[in-house]
Amino acid sequence: MTATSDREQMAYVSSQAADARVNVELDTGDMTLNIGPQHPATHGTLRLACRLDGEQVVVAEPIMGYMHRGYEKLCEVRTYPQCTTLINRIDWLGSFANEVPFILAAERLMEVEAPPRAQWIRTILFELSRVANLALFLGDMGVQIGALTPVFFAFRDRERVLNQIEEVTGGRFHPNFDRIGGLKDDIPKGWVEETRSVMVKMRTFCDEMEDLLVGNEIFQARCRGVGVIPPEVALGYGLSGANLRASGVDWDLRRDANPGLAWDQVDWRVWTHPDGDSFARYWVRLQETREATHIVDQLLDGIPSGPIMAKVPRIIKVPAGEAYLSTENPLGEMGYYIVSKGDLGPFRVKIRTPSFNNISIVPWVMKGVYVPDVITILGSLYFILGDIDR
């Protein structure tokens, strides 16, 4: 079977790379190129061991673990409220969205339900982190392709969203705001209007990106037909989020498996693209960012009144049981499989991160592409290192 020989080749590449003899042999045959761990396109410390024939990639094998922090083990020795501190740091660009599925899973085990106002504000903050996270992607993709300007616009406008998140939670990056049974605090005065004006600005930002990149012939030439992932392959690898939807699979956990947040209360749509290439992934994320601003707008209109915290004991003990709960995070399906034994802390937490699955397709999709396409594909798959390594 060809798959086996490919695996052998990959093993060979990895062993070669492990020797770290990057600069030694420059023969006329294939060349091993280490992209990363310190490389501008790897958003941190992912390493791609590529075997090149000229500029064409023969095999590419991701090597990771440079940022493995052992969160699953650490969660086992902490109490539930303490776990959210760690969980914040998995996908550090959309931190609040990380907390939600964990808290929801714990709530499911405790059979507690947060009051509607808390669920509503959770959804708003969730979508705000999506906007902040995806805004950076929209600009960063430009840098991967070689256009410097979009990323500066992205940093500028993302800051507005982060300010809104900070105003509620007190943290720009790591809010640690979600509690079992509700939220830590209510939203401050005047926040709703400010957020609404920020959402208008973010829509302008989306239009700018559309003008700067989506409509650009060079961008299209670089992205169209590059890194095509057919839907059945995407499903088999467990791709999620915009990567899945860009392959034409109409699947969004916000709509199809809503765990009780306010998404079913507002009017929005799931964007898909039939092509499955890098351009489709960019396009879908752009539309999703815009859709998220509309979701936030609608949610802001209808925040119900009431308490933001349900009645929960001071010392949280979660009854024995198991629960898997996932939500549609900015990067894709983020889920927590919590096993509880009735203790103060979880017995086992399996963190199902979107980037881990999304990046596992790299060896498949990068066969035979050119070196510049490696960067395009890596950029369009959109991963966060903390999200892969945990």
Partner: protein, 233 residues
């Protein structure tokens, strides 16, 4: 793919999952050891280790084409507990009426062995997910499912390095996260967490006390700020 029944109505029977359970009891037959249905939440199916790959295939052919994740559980009780400082913990027990009781069962679907493998799959057309489990026997080996779901490749590598479970038929069970020379399987319950052994975790009460020599100074500062604000607000 439009509106689903809202999840709050837990009183209603979960017909979708019950139908699934009935379907799989039939198609999996002997391989299905035990099952557990949590209405409107999830469905657990425990299959025999020998039929692991075939069961996955059967479930996939029934429409569960989306691979969520694969992982393992170590059901042993950690010998060190959660490394909590006994002083703090004992203080808590007094406050709290009922002491913490450790449940010794092996989760939904039951189990007979220390290690279990679980995989989560979705059926996109039914909008429902399920979790398959299997016991890992003494030989610590199960069949690989990377031929069924290519995405399981990395998950199996991870389970291999974290729990020491081997996957028959997997060609590259190299470590994914850990350095090549790393010894041991970190997510096993008997694997010590060194940082905690060196310094115990304060547990629930993790408020650091203000050092004595700073206390008076801080109090004065707070009072000064209070008075500067006019005393009232």
């Amino acid at each position: 793919m439009t509106d689903e029944a809202p999840a709050e109505e837990t009183a209603l029977p979960d017909e979708k999952r019950e139908a699934l359970l009935a379907h799989f009891s039939e198609s999996l037959g002997e391989s299905l050891v035990e099952s557990h249905l949590q209405p409107h939440e999830d469905l657990w199916l425990r299959v025999t280790a020998e039929s692991w790959q075939d069961s996955i295939r059967t479930v996939k052919s029934a429409g569960f084409e989306y691979f969520g994740f694969l992982s393992a559980i170590d059901w042993d009780i950690a010998p060190e507990g959660r490394y909590e400082d006994t002083e703090f913990d004992s203080g808590l027990e007094e406050e709290d009426d009922e002491p913490v009781e450790i449940d010794n069962s092996t989760g939904h679907g039951g189990g007979d062995s220390r290690f279990q493998i679980l995989a989560q799959l979705y059926s996109l057309s039914r909008q429902v997910g399920l979790i398959l489990k299997t016991d890992v026997g003494e030989d610590m080996t199960v069949e690989t499912i990377r031929d069924v779901f290519p995405g399981a490749d990395w998950h199996e590598r991870e389970a291999h390095e974290m729990f020491g479970i081997s996957f028959r038929g997997h060609p590259t069970l190299q470590p994914l996260y850990l350095p090549t020379e790393f010894e041991g399987h970190p997510l096993r319950k008997d694997f010590p967490l060194l940082a905690r052994q060196v310094k115990p975790w304060p547990g629930v009460v993790d408020i650091e006390e203000i050092p004595e020599h700073l206390e008076a100074q801080l109090e004065a500062e707070v009072m000064a700020a209070f008075e500067a604000n006019g005393g009232a607000s």
